[in-house]
Symmetry: C2
Subunit: 689 residues, 2 copies
């Protein structure tokens, strides 16, 4: 039985509940309490966010190290609220003391757009006379306005309207039938919505008009597949069961699995936050990462024609990966034995609301962990791998992002992201020249080129917080072919560049040199290799930011200018494109560029540092991505290097082990359930070689 | 019941067996027959290879198109045999006609080293007085010579000995106990073995001697893990079963799965060969690839000190990925319902021999295939993915290579390779300066830097054999920020470079531009996008060849000089480092460089072409890779682009589908076996939103 159930059972008996762990997201009752405290002093607000203000690192590290003799960090709510006239308030509420710590009017910023904010726009758009007029021009009669839909985006930034009024742009679509995919019927104009007055203040209309698409619907729902001949019937079931339960335990939101231990947090913005990640190295619980999250992302589109430059969504900072998260289902999103965690948020009205099953925790078989056969006698050890996956999926209007944090037995942490969902589309005329900025993925449907650039924030804690980042390149040795030092020209080595200042640490990707970055503790050397204990960032999907220097996206998404930035740790530096992202002009750039510019030559070597890594893909759409895109995976690894003195997963029971002496050894975990596909005798049993 | 079993049953009744499919590897009886035919005319040979001489492409394509009216390609054996005095014979035997087609003495070449060739060396080494003497110098008494082991490698190339005598170099090790891992006890000298005379002809002795390691054994076998505290007991079983059987059918060696159909071949050298890969696109069986295989690889080591420059194994061309293949076991190497294929070879004496279960064919669940939720009403379609995996594993002395060809429902073909096994190691003195060429992974054990570079041979057949290769780079649009054409600087597009000659097609990797290569049929445009139907090579693990230009490895492994080479199809061009690889000097370079140099300006656009892709990793060892390395995966994708008019896997039954209208649709394939990890009511059922 899991620890959390034991504690639950215990609390039923004693009537007492444990206080939340300091990293735990705010519960519904804590959100309610925070709102209540604010309302005592401030009124007429709608709430944008009430989230955990995470304990300050120094305070939390001290408490973690010695919880008996250290004050427990207070539960503090970080609040964003909006008043009349697009007035934005930032505040903090101490829940332990029941008091408002701060409450400030913040000028010239716009907090992110919530799901509720989005929902309002469509109904306004449908009733707006100028929108109705534009729809008429494209061939949609006024009585069909209920067939008109929009994906409301933040306006991003539009210099005509600035940052003081809260605005959304409505990307317009049409559905012949309510069940049709609207993305086959994009409309060519773009209304601008004022969130304060709840009205359309402007419509961007292109110089050349494109009537609504006449092509038949391109759907993927069950009725349409049935009409086209039905589903295939040759996918036989694969059953995945865990009759003895899972291999992990939960103590509240702290998970222990194999040698890993970590806290699973969640917030409205970053979605999953993993904290205090440690690895038990033969009884020694070694810190690895203090905190990891996807901190920001940007999806710039490549069509230079106005107003498409505004299409560059910061899905986390402008909408919130947590707010957009899916409620997951057994057997649909994950298979096996699943543990779900819910996510509580505030709604616009200030009431708590919960997304059930926001996070999925489960294990999967992962093929071969290691194997070696001695060619002399076929003596062999083969061991199967298991992985732990902590995941959530969020829907950003048309796209879905499936985020998987994967923990491996060998000490590797993997981040995998699958992109699926639907392409953002725009209208086109038959035969229109798309100038290479997009692809006709279906007649009359132009899907623009775009990038998905994610910013991973890693707060390393490699055997302690004082770490150094090295850039590592595979490099040829000195000496030409024929020289004494390199006669055959085969010398090569790992060239390391030590990062000493944030300015110097701005670094780009180099595929040819297999560039990686190592997070090292220089004060702790591996006893065998005499190299610093390290974790290496291995990331191979690292395109450059294609929007040009000093252009709109470059200015707003400063974090994406380089593959890696390194900063000295600062409690306040969480959001690399700024705390409030919508309608930032990028003049000056918020977040990372501002922090680095403030102190470009600060020492970051052998310091408490944060590594910011931008990775992703560049997507040139094609028809096979439509009407719904097969999941496109991308992945990166954080691998131990010189961290352990040997392979740390040798204690995973093998499927089979035989030795040259022939002495019968070990236990056999051979999977007796596997069978031959077409029956017959098994020709060979790995237990009887 | 699978087709092959039906046919087997039928053959029992009729007494007739089907002739082998022309792509099928030679059977045991065919090998026997070929050897018999040769022996009628030639004697005193030992056999190096008797393998299928694949049908010529034109002949085979004609037969595949119309087997009723086209002569069936003959079964021809491609033979390599060695006579006294290292004399090498290449021959061909027509098995249908029962006659020797050709028999030639080939001067100055050495065919690959077989497992039997390897086995001989160790016994010779142990008895050689000079080797015994060297062991004595390192501290191993003569009576302990049975504790001395060697991994015999081909000599690669050593200018002192040339190419006319068949040589191996013996990488020397010691085992205190027969079950100890020898790689913790490397010896510092290197005997050279003459395979013809079966004697040691030379020993390379380093100027500084390194006595045998005194460190305790570093083992991973069951007894050693038990002695250290035993295996962990917290890995609960994950059961994977397929109660209704597999979703694929076999007709001999032709597999059909979902829309894919292909022939699974195998030979001693490349291992798996996949031929005539087609995708059934709504009833239309479209050709995609004519043939795919791993055609070569090289593992250069980065220590410039003599004789380590000789450590650059061509594991396929010098040893044979097929010859070294593992016999696989249910539940150990793969889980679920498995179909195995055996592999028949000739042995040294000319008798057929079979590796049972050489190839594993199985399916796996692959997470989410696609998903989209409408944020307005939470209507959602989520569909799980299945993949088909065709794999084999080969052991190249210390290392294992696990090769997985993976077919996806969305038309993607993936090649995944996992590296596991044991680092090649060399002796070192305590505190010795390794000069950055290696890492002390265990006291007294130096693991040298190395690369694993694989050469994938792709013979595309994108809607027919006439294809064109394009290099595709993500590129910024013209016009500076503020210009009329690119006011916000956000323009970007896919820049395509058309390859017209082999010389021009030599291309390197560019990670920053997310470089890919497209194989296109320019005469067939996608009806929607009006772009050529294509498959895109997406490969992100593409280090440069680190050994320098005009150095030994650069000369011998010409295929690795560039990420991509393209040649016009030629039946004889299969092996990019040459037909006989051991002891090639690289002067001139065999294989790809020679073919291209012979006709550098030949037209390759809209022609029958072959794409050669070199990918891999650069490995700087660390202690966690030892004493056995956790599997390190690398992967590449071949993805359809503008090939289909829409997502080709929309007919895969969804786990769940709901629509905005609320009309109940479709079937539900919800996995009813998934459960909550810690019991309790399921909070949410995806069928009842």
């Amino acid at each position: 039985m899991a620890l959390d159930r034991l504690k639950q059972a215990a609390s039923h008996i004693t009537g007492q509940t444990e206080p939340p762990y300091p990293f735990d997201p705010l519960s519904e009752s804590e959100i309610e309490k925070a709102v209540g405290i604010i309302r005592k002093e401030h009124d007429n607000l709608f709430f944008n966010a009430v989230t955990l203000w995470e304990p300050r690192k120094a305070e939390m590290m001290a408490w973690v190290a010695d919880p008996e003799h250290t004050p427990r960090p207070h539960r503090i709510a970080d609040v964003v609220a909006i008043g009349k006239g697009s007035k934005v308030y930032d505040g903090h509420v101490d829940l332990n003391e029941g008091k408002l710590l701060s409450w400030e009017l913040t000028e010239g910023v716009q907090p992110l757009i919530t799901m509720e904010d989005l929902q309002i726009v469509e109904s306004v758009v449908r009733k707006d006379p100028k929108v109705i007029e534009q729809c008429g021009i494209l061939g949609i009669p006024a009585e069909d306005m209920y067939k008109v839909y929009c994906d409301p985006w933040t306006i991003g930034y539009d210099e005509r309207f600035g940052s003081n009024v809260r605005l959304q742009q409505a990307l317009m679509y049409y559905r012949p039938h309510v069940d049709d995919s609207q993305y086959s019927y994009p409309l060519d104009f773009c209304p601008i919505f004022n969130a304060d007055t709840q009205e359309i203040i402007h419509i961007d209309v292109p110089p050349v008009r494109r009537p609504v698409n006449k092509a038949p619907p391109n759907n993927y729902h069950a009725a349409s597949i049935e009409a086209e001949g039905g589903y295939r019937t040759d996918v036989k079931p694969i059953n995945i069961t865990q009759p003895e339960g899972v291999s992990f335990t939960m103590d509240g939101r702290i998970i222990s699995w194999q040698n890993w231990k970590l806290h699973i947090g969640f917030n409205y913005r970053e979605g999953m936050v993993l904290s205090n990640i440690t690895f038990n190295d033969k009884g020694n619980e070694r810190p690895v990462f203090w905190r990891m999250s996807l901190a920001e992302m940007v999806v710039p589109y490549g069509n230079p024609e106005h107003p498409h430059q505004r299409k560059h969504a910061f899905d986390l900072g402008e909408y919130g990966g947590g707010y957009m998260t899916n409620s997951l289902s057994l057997g649909c999103d994950c298979k096996g034995a699943i543990h779900y965690l819910d996510a509580a948020f505030v709604n616009r009205a200030g009431a708590p609301t919960t997304i059930k099953n926001a996070i999925c925790v489960h294990e999967e078989d992962n093929g071969i962990l290691f194997k070696h056969t001695d060619f002399r006698d076929d003596s062999v050890t083969v061991t199967r791998a298991r992985k732990l996956i902590i995941s959530h999926i969020f829907t950003a209007a048309n796209y879905e992002y499936c985020v998987y944090w994967i923990f491996h037995q060998d000490g590797t942490v993997q981040l995998e992201i699958k992109l699926t969902g639907i392409l953002n589309t725009y209208a086109m005329l038959p035969g229109e020249d798309l100038h290479g900025w997009g692809t006709e993925v279906y007649p009359g449907v132009n899907a623009h080129n775009h990038q998905h650039l994610f910013c991973l924030r890693v707060d390393p804690n490699i055997d302690g917080p004082k770490n150094t980042i090295f850039q590592v390149d595979a490099a040829r040795g000195a000496g030409e072919v024929g020289s004494k030092e390199n006669p055959y020209g085969n010398a090569f080595y790992a060239k390391k560049t030590r990062f000493e200042t944030p300015e110097q640490a701005k670094s780009d990707y180099d595929g040819a040199s297999s560039r990686t970055w190592e997070m090292s503790n220089e004060s702790k050397l591996n006893p065998y290799s005499h190299k610093p204990v390290s974790y290496k960032l291995v990331s191979r999907e690292v395109p450059v930011l294609l929007p040009k220097e000093n252009g709109l996206v470059w200015k707003r998404a400063g974090f994406a200018r380089h593959a890696v930035h390194v900063t000295k740790y600062d409690d306040s530096q969480i959001h690399p494109a700024g705390r409030h992202v919508p309608q930032t002009s990028g003049e000056p750039s918020e977040g990372l560029p501002a922090w680095i510019a403030a102190n470009p030559n600060q020492n970051i070597a052998n310091e408490d540092v944060v590594l910011w890594h931008t990775f992703g893909i560049t997507h040139f759409p094609s028809p096979e991505d439509f009407p719904v895109m097969p999941a496109e995976p991308m992945t990166l690894l954080l691998r131990p290097r010189n961290f352990f003195t040997r392979n740390p997963c040798l204690d995973v029971p093998p499927s089979y082990c035989s030795v040259p002496s022939g002495v019968k050894q070990g236990v056999s975990l051979v999977d007796k359930l596997s069978t031959l596909a077409f029956g017959g005798e098994q020709k060979k049993d790995c237990c009887k070689k």
